[in-house]
């Protein structure tokens, strides 16, 4: 049974072209996602996200995660699959799909992210429903915290 896709969005005070670069260029990806990234803006291109052992994550375990770009339509849509085993072709059965959707607005860019196909992760349907519920209850509190965080750190601060 398929889980609901996860969908989140944020309004960014910058043009879509700038947001696009941050999402797709390895030098920027390494500041918001993995420690290193090998990514191309081309549908069908394979790449990797690398978390270094003892890297930014502070985790002893390193991790190299293969990705496959599914759509790259600058500066509007960037989609990739991840989670498939190394050396295999990603499909709906073995990977999750991440979609970034950028929409220009008067005040900047609305960035939406949708991740689907994560249902394979936990097997117990009851547990899954419980987690989803827990999460939804926690969501409003989290959103409030996040807004405080954004408000205090959005201005010109870098990682």
């Amino acid at each position: 049974m398929a889980a609901e896709p996860i969908e989140r969005e944020i309004l960014i005070d910058a043009p879509a072209e700038v947001v696009w670069s941050v999402i797709t260029e390895p030098e920027h990806i390494s500041r918001w996602f993995s420690d290193e990234a090998s990514v191309e803006q081309r549908a069908g291109a394979g790449g990797t996200l690398t978390w270094r052992p003892g890297g930014r994550g502070g985790s002893k375990a390193g991790m190299v995660v293969p990705i496959r770009v599914v759509e790259a339509e600058p500066p509007r849509r960037f989609c990739f699959r991840w989670g498939h085993p190394q050396g295999t072709a990603p499909s709906e059965q073995n990977s999750a799909l991440v979609e970034f959707i950028l929409a220009a607005e008067a005040d900047g860019t609305r960035l939406r992210v949708i991740e689907s196909g994560i249902e394979a992760v936990t097997h117990d349907e009851d547990a899954r429903a419980r987690y989803r519920q827990d999460h939804e209850q926690g969501w409003e509190r989290h959103l409030a915290e996040m807004l405080d965080y954004v408000a205090s750190s959005a201005r010109g601060e870098t990682d």
């Binding site: 944020i10 994550g57 502070g58 960035l111 992210v113 201005r155 601060e157 870098t158």
Partner: protein, 116 residues
């Protein structure tokens, strides 16, 4: 914040591989298992099972204990709870990543405006 997110990312990545999840599932069913007993049940080689166990062990999802000549593995239930929680937090992780993307894009934009 970044630390927690990246640790979750590592756990999530360990979980994201379907074959690895199957190894974990088989291990849950068997309770305690060796690389050999797991390979008997799964459509992969002993070597492949061993590789997946290394990854699962690294993120703490399984632990191995040497008994004589063999190592017996078991799922670490606490860590599995963490993993389940962390799956529930996938959305929260995306929020954190989006927040970082916002900060980076906005500071790039400020730089651009200063330059022009």
């Amino acid at each position: 914040m970044a630390v927690a997110a990246a640790e979750d990312d590592a756990l999530w990545a360990a979980f994201a591989d379907p074959t690895r999840r199957r190894v974990l599932e088989a291990l849950l069913e068997q309770g305690e298992a060796t690389t050999t007993t797991l390979a008997e049940e799964l459509p992969i080689t002993r070597q492949a099972v061993a590789k997946h166990l290394v990854v699962l062990n690294r993120v703490g999802l399984v632990a191995g204990q040497r008994r004589g000549r063999e190592v017996r593995y078991a799922v670490q239930p606490e860590r599995l709870d963490d993993a389940a929680d962390s799956m529930a937090q996938v959305a929260a992780q995306w929020d954190r990543r989006l927040t970082r993307i916002k900060r980076i894009a906005e500071s790039l934009q400020v730089d651009r405006q200063v330059d022009s």
